[in-house]
Symmetry: C2
Subunit: 136 residues, 2 copies
DNA sequence: GCATTATCCTACTAAATCGATAGGGTTTAA
DNA sequence: TTAAACCCTATCGATTTAGTAGGATAATGC
Protein backbone atom coordinates (compact mmCIF):
# COMPACT_ATOMS: atom_id res chain seq x y z
CA UNK A 1 0.00 0.00 0.00
CA UNK A 2 1.05 3.52 -0.81
CA UNK A 3 1.42 5.63 2.32
CA UNK A 4 -0.58 8.84 2.62
CA UNK A 5 2.69 10.67 2.83
CA UNK A 6 3.56 9.55 -0.70
CA UNK A 7 0.08 10.16 -2.01
CA UNK A 8 -0.06 13.66 -0.57
CA UNK A 9 3.49 14.37 -1.67
CA UNK A 10 2.72 13.47 -5.27
CA UNK A 11 -0.43 15.57 -5.25
CA UNK A 12 1.45 18.55 -3.87
CA UNK A 13 4.24 18.20 -6.42
CA UNK A 14 1.74 17.98 -9.25
CA UNK A 15 -0.01 21.05 -7.88
CA UNK A 16 3.27 22.94 -7.98
CA UNK A 17 4.06 21.61 -11.44
CA UNK A 18 0.76 22.99 -12.71
CA UNK A 19 1.72 26.56 -11.82
CA UNK A 20 2.88 28.44 -14.87
CA UNK A 21 5.41 30.55 -12.99
CA UNK A 22 7.78 29.34 -10.31
CA UNK A 23 6.35 31.67 -7.67
CA UNK A 24 6.18 30.31 -4.12
CA UNK A 25 2.89 28.65 -3.19
CA UNK A 26 1.84 28.53 0.44
CA UNK A 27 1.28 25.28 2.29
CA UNK A 28 -2.26 26.31 3.21
CA UNK A 29 -3.18 26.91 -0.41
CA UNK A 30 -2.15 23.39 -1.38
CA UNK A 31 -3.57 21.75 1.72
CA UNK A 32 -6.97 23.34 1.15
CA UNK A 33 -7.06 22.63 -2.55
CA UNK A 34 -6.08 18.99 -2.12
CA UNK A 35 -7.83 18.28 1.19
CA UNK A 36 -4.67 17.47 3.07
CA UNK A 37 -4.02 18.12 6.75
CA UNK A 38 -1.98 21.32 6.87
CA UNK A 39 0.53 20.20 9.45
CA UNK A 40 1.09 16.84 7.85
CA UNK A 41 1.65 18.43 4.46
CA UNK A 42 4.06 20.84 6.07
CA UNK A 43 6.32 18.00 7.17
CA UNK A 44 6.13 16.37 3.76
CA UNK A 45 7.10 19.50 1.88
CA UNK A 46 9.88 20.13 4.35
CA UNK A 47 11.41 16.75 3.61
CA UNK A 48 11.06 17.29 -0.13
CA UNK A 49 12.94 20.55 0.26
CA UNK A 50 15.67 18.90 2.29
CA UNK A 51 16.03 16.34 -0.44
CA UNK A 52 16.57 18.95 -3.09
CA UNK A 53 13.29 18.70 -4.96
CA UNK A 54 11.72 21.90 -3.68
CA UNK A 55 12.92 25.38 -2.84
CA UNK A 56 11.26 27.55 -0.23
CA UNK A 57 10.94 31.16 0.70
CA UNK A 58 10.28 32.25 4.26
CA UNK A 59 8.17 35.11 5.57
CA UNK A 60 5.22 36.89 4.07
CA UNK A 61 4.63 35.93 0.46
CA UNK A 62 6.75 32.85 1.00
CA UNK A 63 6.00 29.24 0.17
CA UNK A 64 7.34 26.30 -1.80
CA UNK A 65 8.25 25.97 -5.45
CA UNK A 66 9.79 23.39 -7.76
CA UNK A 67 13.52 23.72 -8.31
CA UNK A 68 13.48 22.02 -11.70
CA UNK A 69 11.35 21.76 -14.78
CA UNK A 70 8.64 19.12 -14.17
CA UNK A 71 9.79 17.43 -17.37
CA UNK A 72 13.14 16.77 -15.70
CA UNK A 73 11.67 15.04 -12.64
CA UNK A 74 11.03 11.33 -13.18
CA UNK A 75 8.74 9.51 -10.78
CA UNK A 76 11.56 7.19 -9.75
CA UNK A 77 13.07 10.15 -7.91
CA UNK A 78 9.79 11.17 -6.35
CA UNK A 79 8.87 7.65 -5.27
CA UNK A 80 12.23 6.92 -3.74
CA UNK A 81 12.18 10.13 -1.74
CA UNK A 82 8.66 9.71 -0.48
CA UNK A 83 8.03 5.99 -0.29
CA UNK A 84 11.53 4.54 -0.20
CA UNK A 85 12.38 1.38 -2.15
CA UNK A 86 10.39 0.67 -5.28
CA UNK A 87 10.93 -3.08 -5.03
CA UNK A 88 8.55 -5.12 -2.90
CA UNK A 89 11.38 -7.04 -1.25
CA UNK A 90 14.80 -5.65 -0.31
CA UNK A 91 16.58 -8.53 -2.06
CA UNK A 92 15.54 -7.18 -5.47
CA UNK A 93 16.03 -3.53 -4.66
CA UNK A 94 18.53 -1.51 -6.68
CA UNK A 95 19.01 1.35 -4.26
CA UNK A 96 18.13 -0.35 -0.98
CA UNK A 97 19.45 -3.89 -1.46
CA UNK A 98 19.48 -6.20 1.53
CA UNK A 99 19.91 -9.94 1.78
CA UNK A 100 17.05 -11.98 3.24
CA UNK A 101 17.70 -13.69 6.56
CA UNK A 102 15.88 -16.84 5.64
CA UNK A 103 17.08 -17.22 2.06
CA UNK A 104 20.03 -19.51 1.41
CA UNK A 105 20.17 -19.06 -2.34
CA UNK A 106 18.68 -16.04 -4.05
CA UNK A 107 18.98 -17.60 -7.50
CA UNK A 108 16.59 -20.38 -6.54
CA UNK A 109 14.18 -18.25 -4.54
CA UNK A 110 10.73 -18.07 -6.09
CA UNK A 111 9.87 -14.82 -4.36
CA UNK A 112 13.01 -13.22 -5.68
CA UNK A 113 12.28 -14.39 -9.19
CA UNK A 114 8.72 -13.09 -9.15
CA UNK A 115 9.39 -9.78 -7.47
CA UNK A 116 12.28 -9.06 -9.79
CA UNK A 117 9.86 -9.10 -12.69
CA UNK A 118 7.45 -6.83 -10.89
CA UNK A 119 10.20 -4.40 -9.96
CA UNK A 120 11.50 -4.24 -13.52
CA UNK A 121 8.07 -3.38 -14.84
CA UNK A 122 7.23 -0.86 -12.17
CA UNK A 123 10.60 0.80 -12.51
CA UNK A 124 10.09 1.14 -16.23
CA UNK A 125 6.83 3.00 -15.66
CA UNK A 126 8.28 5.34 -13.07
CA UNK A 127 11.31 6.04 -15.26
CA UNK A 128 9.17 6.95 -18.21
CA UNK A 129 6.75 9.13 -16.30
CA UNK A 130 7.69 12.64 -15.22
CA UNK A 131 5.88 15.14 -13.07
CA UNK A 132 5.00 16.94 -16.25
CA UNK A 133 3.23 13.85 -17.60
CA UNK A 134 1.03 13.74 -14.52
CA UNK A 135 0.19 17.42 -14.66
CA UNK A 136 -1.87 17.36 -17.83
CA UNK B 1 6.71 -3.81 1.02
CA UNK B 2 5.75 -7.44 0.87
CA UNK B 3 4.80 -8.80 4.30
CA UNK B 4 6.65 -11.80 5.67
CA UNK B 5 3.36 -13.59 5.73
CA UNK B 6 3.14 -13.34 1.96
CA UNK B 7 6.78 -14.16 1.43
CA UNK B 8 6.60 -17.25 3.63
CA UNK B 9 3.28 -18.24 2.13
CA UNK B 10 4.67 -18.19 -1.40
CA UNK B 11 7.73 -20.15 -0.35
CA UNK B 12 5.59 -22.78 1.31
CA UNK B 13 3.29 -23.08 -1.69
CA UNK B 14 6.25 -23.45 -4.01
CA UNK B 15 7.68 -26.09 -1.71
CA UNK B 16 4.43 -28.02 -1.95
CA UNK B 17 4.29 -27.51 -5.70
CA UNK B 18 7.72 -29.09 -6.03
CA UNK B 19 6.55 -32.39 -4.54
CA UNK B 20 5.88 -34.93 -7.24
CA UNK B 21 3.04 -36.59 -5.41
CA UNK B 22 0.26 -34.85 -3.51
CA UNK B 23 1.17 -36.52 -0.21
CA UNK B 24 0.74 -34.38 2.91
CA UNK B 25 3.85 -32.49 4.01
CA UNK B 26 4.21 -31.53 7.64
CA UNK B 27 4.54 -27.92 8.75
CA UNK B 28 7.83 -28.68 10.49
CA UNK B 29 9.37 -30.04 7.33
CA UNK B 30 8.61 -26.87 5.41
CA UNK B 31 9.49 -24.54 8.26
CA UNK B 32 12.90 -26.15 8.67
CA UNK B 33 13.65 -26.29 4.98
CA UNK B 34 12.66 -22.67 4.40
CA UNK B 35 13.83 -21.18 7.71
CA UNK B 36 10.41 -20.04 8.78
CA UNK B 37 9.12 -19.86 12.36
CA UNK B 38 7.04 -23.00 12.82
CA UNK B 39 4.13 -21.39 14.61
CA UNK B 40 3.92 -18.47 12.21
CA UNK B 41 3.94 -20.78 9.23
CA UNK B 42 1.23 -22.82 10.89
CA UNK B 43 -1.12 -19.83 10.91
CA UNK B 44 -0.31 -19.01 7.31
CA UNK B 45 -1.00 -22.51 6.04
CA UNK B 46 -4.18 -22.62 8.06
CA UNK B 47 -5.48 -19.53 6.33
CA UNK B 48 -4.50 -20.90 2.92
CA UNK B 49 -6.48 -24.01 3.70
CA UNK B 50 -9.50 -22.02 4.80
CA UNK B 51 -9.31 -20.14 1.54
CA UNK B 52 -9.42 -23.29 -0.50
CA UNK B 53 -5.86 -23.43 -1.77
CA UNK B 54 -4.60 -26.22 0.45
CA UNK B 55 -5.98 -29.42 1.85
CA UNK B 56 -4.87 -30.90 5.14
CA UNK B 57 -4.75 -34.20 6.93
CA UNK B 58 -4.68 -34.47 10.69
CA UNK B 59 -2.90 -36.96 12.90
CA UNK B 60 0.12 -39.09 12.26
CA UNK B 61 1.34 -38.83 8.69
CA UNK B 62 -0.74 -35.71 8.25
CA UNK B 63 0.20 -32.35 6.82
CA UNK B 64 -0.70 -29.98 4.00
CA UNK B 65 -0.97 -30.51 0.28
CA UNK B 66 -2.05 -28.55 -2.77
CA UNK B 67 -5.62 -29.08 -3.86
CA UNK B 68 -4.96 -28.17 -7.48
CA UNK B 69 -2.32 -28.56 -10.13
CA UNK B 70 0.29 -25.80 -9.67
CA UNK B 71 -0.23 -24.91 -13.33
CA UNK B 72 -3.81 -23.97 -12.46
CA UNK B 73 -2.87 -21.57 -9.67
CA UNK B 74 -2.08 -18.05 -10.90
CA UNK B 75 -0.19 -15.69 -8.63
CA UNK B 76 -3.11 -13.26 -8.65
CA UNK B 77 -4.98 -15.75 -6.49
CA UNK B 78 -2.03 -16.32 -4.19
CA UNK B 79 -1.24 -12.64 -3.78
CA UNK B 80 -4.81 -11.62 -3.08
CA UNK B 81 -5.18 -14.30 -0.42
CA UNK B 82 -1.91 -13.54 1.30
CA UNK B 83 -1.27 -9.85 0.74
CA UNK B 84 -4.69 -8.50 -0.12
CA UNK B 85 -5.12 -5.88 -2.85
CA UNK B 86 -2.60 -5.87 -5.68
CA UNK B 87 -3.11 -2.17 -6.36
CA UNK B 88 -1.09 0.35 -4.39
CA UNK B 89 -4.12 2.54 -3.74
CA UNK B 90 -7.69 1.34 -3.11
CA UNK B 91 -9.07 3.71 -5.76
CA UNK B 92 -7.47 1.64 -8.54
CA UNK B 93 -8.17 -1.76 -7.02
CA UNK B 94 -10.33 -4.22 -8.93
CA UNK B 95 -11.29 -6.47 -6.04
CA UNK B 96 -10.95 -4.05 -3.14
CA UNK B 97 -12.09 -0.74 -4.62
CA UNK B 98 -12.59 2.18 -2.28
CA UNK B 99 -12.99 5.87 -2.97
CA UNK B 100 -10.37 8.25 -1.56
CA UNK B 101 -11.58 10.64 1.14
CA UNK B 102 -9.54 13.53 -0.17
CA UNK B 103 -10.12 13.07 -3.89
CA UNK B 104 -12.86 15.09 -5.53
CA UNK B 105 -12.37 13.79 -9.06
CA UNK B 106 -10.66 10.48 -9.76
CA UNK B 107 -10.31 11.23 -13.46
CA UNK B 108 -8.09 14.21 -12.77
CA UNK B 109 -6.09 12.62 -9.94
CA UNK B 110 -2.41 12.18 -10.79
CA UNK B 111 -1.94 9.44 -8.23
CA UNK B 112 -4.84 7.52 -9.67
CA UNK B 113 -3.49 7.88 -13.20
CA UNK B 114 -0.01 6.68 -12.25
CA UNK B 115 -1.04 3.83 -9.99
CA UNK B 116 -3.50 2.55 -12.54
CA UNK B 117 -0.61 1.96 -14.93
CA UNK B 118 1.41 0.21 -12.25
CA UNK B 119 -1.49 -1.99 -11.28
CA UNK B 120 -2.17 -3.01 -14.88
CA UNK B 121 1.42 -4.06 -15.35
CA UNK B 122 1.73 -5.90 -12.06
CA UNK B 123 -1.57 -7.64 -12.58
CA UNK B 124 -0.42 -8.83 -15.99
CA UNK B 125 2.64 -10.43 -14.45
CA UNK B 126 0.73 -12.14 -11.68
CA UNK B 127 -1.89 -13.38 -14.14
CA UNK B 128 0.71 -14.90 -16.40
CA UNK B 129 2.73 -16.53 -13.66
CA UNK B 130 1.54 -19.72 -11.99
CA UNK B 131 2.89 -21.63 -9.02
CA UNK B 132 4.30 -24.10 -11.52
CA UNK B 133 6.34 -21.36 -13.20
CA UNK B 134 7.95 -20.49 -9.89
CA UNK B 135 8.73 -24.11 -9.05
CA UNK B 136 11.30 -24.73 -11.76
C1' DG C 1 -8.38 -48.49 23.30
C1' DC C 2 -4.51 -45.85 24.11
C1' DA C 3 -0.31 -43.33 23.08
C1' DT C 4 1.58 -40.54 19.69
C1' DT C 5 1.54 -37.37 16.10
C1' DA C 6 -0.13 -33.64 13.81
C1' DT C 7 -3.35 -30.03 12.64
C1' DC C 8 -6.84 -26.62 14.61
C1' DC C 9 -8.03 -22.57 17.08
C1' DT C 10 -8.07 -18.58 20.14
C1' DA C 11 -5.81 -15.22 22.49
C1' DC C 12 -2.03 -12.45 23.64
C1' DT C 13 2.01 -9.31 23.00
C1' DA C 14 6.24 -6.56 21.84
C1' DA C 15 7.76 -3.62 18.43
C1' DA C 16 7.30 -0.78 14.58
C1' DT C 17 4.88 2.30 11.61
C1' DC C 18 1.43 5.65 10.32
C1' DG C 19 -0.96 9.72 10.31
C1' DA C 20 -1.22 13.07 12.27
C1' DT C 21 -1.03 17.13 16.20
C1' DA C 22 1.23 20.55 19.35
C1' DG C 23 3.85 24.31 20.08
C1' DG C 24 6.89 27.01 19.67
C1' DG C 25 11.33 29.38 16.81
C1' DT C 26 12.95 32.01 12.93
C1' DT C 27 12.76 34.79 8.87
C1' DT C 28 10.84 38.23 5.80
C1' DA C 29 7.68 41.66 3.53
C1' DA C 30 5.07 45.54 4.10
C1' DT D 1 7.01 46.45 14.31
C1' DT D 2 3.70 43.29 13.13
C1' DA D 3 1.75 39.73 10.80
C1' DA D 4 2.62 36.00 7.66
C1' DA D 5 4.96 32.10 6.58
C1' DC D 6 8.25 28.43 6.87
C1' DC D 7 11.37 25.64 10.31
C1' DC D 8 11.96 22.16 13.71
C1' DT D 9 11.35 18.80 17.44
C1' DA D 10 8.58 16.12 20.15
C1' DT D 11 4.70 13.49 21.18
C1' DC D 12 0.72 10.39 20.61
C1' DG D 13 -3.15 7.20 19.58
C1' DA D 14 -4.35 3.67 16.47
C1' DT D 15 -3.17 0.02 13.60
C1' DT D 16 -0.41 -3.58 11.70
C1' DT D 17 3.21 -6.95 11.90
C1' DA D 18 5.47 -10.95 13.30
C1' DG D 19 5.32 -13.74 16.00
C1' DT D 20 4.33 -16.86 20.81
C1' DA D 21 1.59 -19.71 24.10
C1' DG D 22 -1.26 -23.25 25.15
C1' DG D 23 -4.41 -26.26 24.70
C1' DA D 24 -8.42 -28.79 21.75
C1' DT D 25 -9.26 -32.06 18.28
C1' DA D 26 -8.54 -35.72 15.10
C1' DA D 27 -6.13 -39.67 12.91
C1' DT D 28 -2.86 -43.40 12.97
C1' DG D 29 -0.69 -47.58 14.46
C1' DC D 30 0.28 -50.70 17.87
Amino acid sequence: MLSKKTKYGIKALVYLARQEDRMPVQISTISQSENISRKFLESILLSLRKNGLLGSKKGKGGGYYLLKDPKEIPMTTVMRLLEGPIAMVPCVSLNFYEKCDDCTDEDVCAVNKLMLKVRDNTLEIFRNTTLADLSN
